[in-house]
Assembly symmetry: C2
Homo-oligomer: 93 residues x 2
Amino acid sequence: MSDLAAALDIVGARWALLIVERLLDGPQRYGDLQRDLGVPTNMLATRLRELEAAGVLFRLPLRHNTRAYALTDRGLALREAIVALGTWGKNDA
Amino acid sequence: MSDLAAALDIVGARWALLIVERLLDGPQRYGDLQRDLGVPTNMLATRLRELEAAGVLFRLPLRHNTRAYALTDRGLALREAIVALGTWGKNDA
DNA sequence: CGTGGCTACTTGCATTTTGCAAGCATGGTC
DNA sequence: GACCATGCTTGCAAAATGCAAGTAGCCACG
């Protein structure tokens, strides 16, 4: 399995990279991600579980029954790839 | 729609980036892609059609009833993003 | 203490995407 | 003109995704 295939195995699923991109701006709560991205709630829950299991992000407990999701170092390391893809997507001429 | 979402709309589908990565090494024929990637034949045909429509690659007629698939400039511009993702995927420690 | 509201999910089911296997078309070879 | 390689298409099963509704924990307020 190539390196690219290994990467896509983790962040290649739908919504995964968009979630990580959103978290590059700092920790976000579940509802924030849902509203900002327009992702279905069951998909969001699934992806957050998978990305946590893959060591890309972790749950950060806040007060009450709320928590935030934040990137690990491994998650932050995706910034370069995300920026590169975003730059490519910008030039759709 | 963010730039990243626009990019993923084109190359976010399963197998798409792997196909492009393979073509970074130069034009490839259908059967080569199929064997190298292990992608189901109907998916390969679908993706090649989509990527051609998106201006990422084009069909290059060879002799007989064979053709090759090659990247356009827009397709080649994905190299940076693919390398970045591959580098990330390599460090799965 | 109990009702109501907010947040973070889970669950059930329809729709879409993906995958497997088999078949078809075209062109060349002998 | 029988045979083979290449490049697909087609039919159907399995899996992923999406929508809508429901559940669970916590706290504020009366």
